[in-house]
Symmetry: C2
């Protein structure tokens, strides 16, 4: 049976090296050197077993997703990721579990050159808490409160895939591997966020559902969004899994866990956004406009779409 210090050694052996980490894991705290003139961007999210991921999720996917949901928050700010801390609560100090968890965590950390600099491992119900740190130039952060009337509303990728996978899981149906991959291994849109920084007016990541998250932007910016659910691109896997249009629309409009970006930008920036998306290797779709008013008004098939949920509530799940 391994102990806490064995686990810490296993974690330490995997870490991405960065010159700005003065002192990493192994002291009371990490010592880090932020770049001069930049703002620090910090996000923290916890994944609890049975709440944020099914109990039968493989550890590598939990490791990937725990970092991905946090990097997605940095992406939504237009920030460059740099460091993270990890707190891992485990019922038992299972070395094989931790190694597999680290396989997923580390694969994503390396993609973004994120150094794990601290945290703890402890006993408790399975839970993963990650804090991520990135940088952004002053006045270039993609805040929620920067949207303007007249802006286009954009979405990256094909929203609804993760929610479809979750629905398949909840109902005990056979799980489509492509959808499951989108639920278990979401791609944080860091490259896109970086390229939008400075000319998109606002951004948010879609963790709670498109309508709910866009509503946050509208509230913060005091604008109203008019969007067309049918302007959302539909993945082949989603089309196969949800042939009934309203079911599919519900998954796309209100399903969480996609970690795509929803952002708004002036009409004059359409060509620049297309270029940014091409450069970042992700598709983007224009789904509506911002107008005077408040809230989100959604249409589908030419009719008003059902009322917007107030937001995904982790206590109502």
């Amino acid at each position: 049976m391994a102990g806490e210090f064995d686990l810490i050694d296993r974690i330490r052996a995997r870490i991405v090296a960065r010159d700005d980490v003065v002192l990493g894991i192994g002291d009371d705290a990490a010592l880090l050197q932020p770049p001069a003139g930049m703002q620090l961007v910090v996000a923290m999210d916890t994944l609890n077993a049975g709440i944020h991921f099914p109990h039968d999720t493989v550890p590598a996917d939990i490791g990937w997703k725990a970092l991905a949901v946090n990097l997605s928050d940095l992406a939504a700010m237009g920030a460059t990721p740099a460091w993270c801390t990890l707190s891992l609560s485990l019922p038992e100090p299972d070395v094989a579990w931790v190694d597999a968890f680290l396989d997923g965590f580390d694969a994503l950390a390396r993609q973004h050159a994120v150094a794990l600099v601290g945290g703890d491992t402890t006993r408790g119900p399975l839970s993963v808490c990650v804090t991520v740190f990135g940088f952004v130039s002053p006045d270039r952060a993609l805040r929620r409160d920067g949207s303007r009337v007249g802006d286009d509303v954009w979405v990256s990728g094909t929203p609804g895939d993760a929610a479809a996978a979750l629905a398949q899981w909840s109902s005990g149906r056979a799980r489509d591997p492509a959808l499951r991959a989108r639920l278990d291994r979401p791609t944080p849109r860091v490259a896109l966020g970086l390229r939008l920084s400075g000319f998109a007016n606002a951004a948010i990541d879609i963790s709670d559902g498109l309508l709910a998250d866009l509503a946050h932007v509208c509230r913060a910016s005091a604008v109203c969004a008019e969007i067309d659910i049918d302007a959302l691109p539909v993945s082949d896997a989603l089309r196969a899994a949800a042939s009934e249009p309203d079911t599919r629309r519900t998954l796309q409009a209100s399903g969480g866990d996609d970690y795509e970006l929803c952002f708004t930008a002036p009409v004059s920036r359409r060509a620049a956004i297309a270029a940014a998306a091409l450069d970042a290797g992700v598709s983007v779709s224009r789904i509506g406009r911002l107008v005077e008013g408040q809230g989100v008004v959604a249409t589908a098939g030419g009719a008003l779409w059902a009322p917007v949920r107030a937001g995904w509530d982790h206590f109502a799940g």
Copy 2:
């Protein structure tokens, strides 16, 4: 029944204001302005119910302690605290519980002007994860690897009190309020750490037990510590609770959760350390010296003290 956003509003209403928080709770991530020329100091610790605190601990004490154990890590680095993030997992969105939790958390945050800048609230077994951020001038951090042969070994406060409270709790005995306060409301030695920064050679906070934590310093610095357990000051409450000398010595030498500082400094610095402690309002005691070699050699009553435990292992508890 409250939801996640009600809880976030309650949390937001309590926050300490700081000029260096560009954007706090309410966006995808916080935007922070680190001071020019300083290093960022980051620590993260989780408290799980039933593991790190008894299930019947009152919420205000949990809130205090969750921040205190993290500030203690900054203290052990000689850092000035600035910001924190909080991830709170709760079985139910109990507003009264959260308010009481915040009473304790906020009381300590205000003492140290720490602004809560982000995090999340979610459903799960009761667990509190905090990340703290502070600053230190380059080359002034109190690392574990800076000890030198010939250094004095010092300890702040009266170690053993928290362990005595925990022993009373475990055995179902009546709990001494003074000891219980030391377990539930530890005082992070931030003021002392700041004053030692730059002239103590190394420091660590005593979370796992004096011998175990001092052993970490010795390992990192490649030195051996010779200490006298009987040089540790004994609080009146501990003397009353543990009249048998070896019981008391065990609590003082190996009991965790005190969050006092153990530090080493050149003999030439004794007067400066006495002045720093007076200034910080905490007692300090010289308990030994560093010599060539490795490990910790402890004596008590003139005889060699029992072998040192390898370290408090959160999975062996």
